[in-house]
């Protein structure tokens, strides 16, 4: 039977407030499917929906460490692997936002000509 949280977790991938968005960006960049992502984090794939629905760890380094530890402890994940995924995911999301901004700026400049 499908996990009812799975659909909700997928929907959260479009919202940067949730860990789902960071894990999705990380998994995409490394070409990981759910099984590979779960293996990377050291958990059963069945736990992924709940993991994805956690709020994204804070951006301050101390807060991020603390949040990552709490999530890893709760779900029995590899803390270091989760930290790497969160950091990479965040950078990738920022890059995408900036790319969007740059594209818009380029379009604006194009329009001014």
């Amino acid at each position: 039977m499908n996990d009812p949280l799975a659909g909700l977790a997928r929907r959260a991938e479009g919202r940067p407030e949730f860990l789902a968005a960071l894990l999705a960006a990380f998994a995409r960049s490394d070409g990981l499917d759910d099984a590979a992502l779960a293996a990377h984090l050291g958990c059963d794939p069945g736990k992924l929906p709940a993991v994805r629905l956690c709020l994204a760890p804070g951006e301050e380094p101390a807060q991020m460490r603390d949040d990552v530890r709490r999530i890893a402890d709760h779900f029995g994940l590899r803390e270091e692997a989760l930290r790497k995924a969160v950091t990479r995911g965040r950078v990738l999301l920022l890059m995408r936002q900036n790319e969007g901004g740059l594209t818009l700026a380029a379009r604006d400049r194009e329009g001014e000509r």
């Binding site: 659909g7 909700l8 919202r15 999530i71």
Partner: protein, 200 residues
């Protein structure tokens, strides 16, 4: 499928507001199924996918901005039920708009027959104009009686003879002068309704 008790709800909310990142999935686990159940019961004819989407949006919006919820005003379950129902109404309205647009696109083929429609901007204007007209006709039809709706249909078909109108209004057996008056009266009512909505 029951919502958490007030004590459980208060504990979960406290953890969320304290910044515990794990509180969000716990709230989802506790509220998702009862919310889906409640909204399906309330709107049994709504598309199940839209119901699910509305519940998902309500939950994620709340988790992202829990400060929008005022515990002194309502229980969390009521707040989420209301939010999900509001989201569902918006989604259903969006679906209706999409459906209307699809119908309008079909009518666009009629507009293409107009030579002006070779120009994209004019075609778009024609399409919008057609959509507005259709909307007006729909509104007038909704507030008309069944026989008036037939009269409306005849007007839109460009019928001018009195007889079809008289038959539709059930006055075909009256003397011609009385038929003419009855038809004029009904056509006038409908024309006025159309004009009130700026349809020429």
């Amino acid at each position: 499928m029951t919502f958490p008790s007030p004590q459980e709800a208060a504990d979960l909310l406290r953890r969320l507001l304290d910044g515990d990142p794990v509180a969000a999935p716990l709230i989802c686990e506790a509220y998702l199924a009862p919310l889906l159940c409640s909204l399906r019961r309330k709107r049994p004819h709504a598309d199940p996918h839209l119901v699910e989407q509305a519940v998902h949006d309500a939950l994620l919006d709340f988790l992202a901005r829990p400060d929008k919820y005022r515990p002194d005003k309502s229980a969390l379950a009521s707040f989420l039920r209301l939010a999900a129902d509001g989201d569902l109404k918006n989604l259903l309205a969006g679906e209706r708009r999409k459906k209307n647009r699809r119908e309008d696109v079909e009518l666009d083929s009629l507009a293409r027959k107009d030579s002006r429609s070779d120009q994209p901007l004019l075609r778009l204007a024609l399409q919008e104009e057609t959509a507005d007209m259709l909307d007006t006709v729909r509104q007038v039809a909704e507030e008309s009686s069944p026989s008036q709706r037939v009269v409306l249909g005849l007007i839109l078909d460009g019928v001018r003879a009195t007889e079809p109108f008289a038959q539709a209004l059930g006055v075909g057996d009256l003397p011609p002068e009385q038929q003419r008056r009855a038809v004029y009266r009904e056509k006038d009512k409908i024309n006025k309704r159309l004009k009130r909505r700026h349809l020429p």
